[in-house]
Symmetry: C2
Subunit: 407 residues, 2 copies
Amino acid sequence: MKKSFLICTGCGRTWPVTRAFPRCDFCAEPLEVRGVVPGRIRGSRFPHRTLLERYRDFFPFRTLNGELSLGEGFTPLVRSARLAGATGLGDLFFKNETVNPTWSFKDRGTVSGVQHALCLGYDRIGTVSSGNMAASVAAYGARAGLKTFVLVSAALPAEKIAPIAIHGPVLIRVDGDYGELYFRSIEIGKRRGIYFINSDVPFRVEGSKTIAFEICEQLRFRVPDWVVVPVSAGGNLRGIIKGFEEFRHAGLIAAMPRFAAVQAAGCAPVYRAFREGSERVQRVERPETLAHAIENPFPPSGNEVLRKIRAMGGVVAAVSDEEMIAAQRELAGEGILAQPEGAAPIAAVRSLAEEGRITRGETVVCIVTGGGLKYTAAFDFHRFRVAGCTLSTLEDHILSEDPGGGG
Amino acid sequence: MKKSFLICTGCGRTWPVTRAFPRCDFCAEPLEVRGVVPGRIRGSRFPHRTLLERYRDFFPFRTLNGELSLGEGFTPLVRSARLAGATGLGDLFFKNETVNPTWSFKDRGTVSGVQHALCLGYDRIGTVSSGNMAASVAAYGARAGLKTFVLVSAALPAEKIAPIAIHGPVLIRVDGDYGELYFRSIEIGKRRGIYFINSDVPFRVEGSKTIAFEICEQLRFRVPDWVVVPVSAGGNLRGIIKGFEEFRHAGLIAAMPRFAAVQAAGCAPVYRAFREGSERVQRVERPETLAHAIENPFPPSGNEVLRKIRAMGGVVAAVSDEEMIAAQRELAGEGILAQPEGAAPIAAVRSLAEEGRITRGETVVCIVTGGGLKYTAAFDFHRFRVAGCTLSTLEDHILSEDPGGGG
């Protein structure tokens, strides 16, 4: 590891970068990597560099395990003139994280977390997740040849198990409070030599910052007015903010965007604390949303997200399940099939534009966090029209569907 | 369009490049684009170029519609030293097409086909497919704002409908012979002004050639010994062969790889014709395989694939469903979750190595055509081990799973 350290986002105490335990021993707030002297962006991506190689000057890793990469990152930034027009925006982009190796943004944090575990000499890793993160850690754990523990909720439906289990981890259903499992796993890991790459651990946050790096590069270092991010544990948004900050400190961009955190109305602890002016998030007792990927009732980085959003003039929004489903359809109309959670930002953009928080002519980047095949139950909330005919009636049928068309 | 033409792969007759009808009027064999004067590779991909822009010197398009791209292509070439060692190969790579915008290789041919339709002034497109191609054409049709007809088999399960329908095409279930539907749709399209971007139309083949271009770049223009490709209609393999040929003609590579076409044993018309020494594929009457994405009983490019494979010293292999499922598991152990079809090449590599067709020390590239979440029914063929415990017994449980571990 290069010279660097971890700092507590709550009390500012510092800790060695070789520490795998992700929270402050004193105030229990999450830690963050600091002290890497920034350098330059290395080479072009295609075909010769991995994500960690391209941005290695912004990571504390001295050496990289070449065969760890599955080709994560370098995701498309898809412009939508049509939806920008419909929303009165100057420009609108979708950062499509659904084309990562396991089809969500999680792979960025996973590759960074596993790289840290390898640098520290761990041969066992783990995670607590019931969805995108579990699949991602199982995949990269397999790739790295590490013994990999994936702890899932006892309530997880069988259909969610297969895409995790197929990578061959030690998969354990744990009966008990899911929020407590986060902390318990990290304690057990500390005692038993297992590096738990949970939702908001410092090196997962490091991975997420590459989303910001790429957006900067893709917009040719023109800074967008807003970046809109679905928030569950809070680690991804922390990483994206950190990425923009690091590029600003490195002189690569001249200003910071503002950030909008988006939560599901049925599980919105950060939104509630933001509205109430509270400094600390309170646990949501009965989360109720279809957006399970952003359903963390007590986000471990919630307080830090609040601090950051407030300090930077950002905003927290909440969107209903119905709005997410409508947004999923809208995004599919642009060619991108997202999880409902991944479409939440475009729903939030609409309401923030109506409230006048996002104003006419501004440039907005929405983070589309995961792919729509991850959660097929959401399709049940849509109505689709499917016609039927035979080979011999096909041409008539096409004509009836398209009375104005050709011929 | 630039100066170029279409040529019949069967009889050699030529046709104008502005033609949307993909087959020869005389011998009914598929057409292919020719006559583009090759140039150079343009710029780096990240962050400023799309696939068609990077390789525009190899396409006949004079202008490109900038907002058509969803960021297709530029997929990872993932090396596996572990599986190379286990198979006795010199080097083994997986071209991971599962990270395309709709999670299969189809997006390459779709973007090229839609671009051709736009160049020709069509405002209506269509396809005949029940899987990857349907989702891809629906997505790009939506993106381009075109009226899009997707014709699927009447037998298609409801769960397969949603990921297509959500993009908003005119979706029609057609009762009748699926092979005939391919030809019928093209005739109707010709009469009614609908450009049908079916499996092996010339501009879909053009899109597929970018797989070869990328492999060449990713291997720094060192040519692999073998490229192994799952074959259904035959268009993707035709495109990949054409891509290597064009780079050789452009002086970018010095030799050609050999090609192995892989079919499912339960639906292997090309394999059968190859073994029997026949020049023409015969229809498979009762296809029986779980690998529906390579289940074309009468491949429209089958004869052309036979001609090419024979002329180039290649081989056709067939793998059983069991072998594909085992290969899917093996590939997941490298971190890549493929459809069973997408894992078929690694199964074929094993048997070809045992037969001595692929020999010790050779370099092999397997094309992983589509993602494992596309076909979740395949998970039922796997056995997964999942343990259960409570929060209070978790640590003991982890110890029992990992008796040699930490502590």
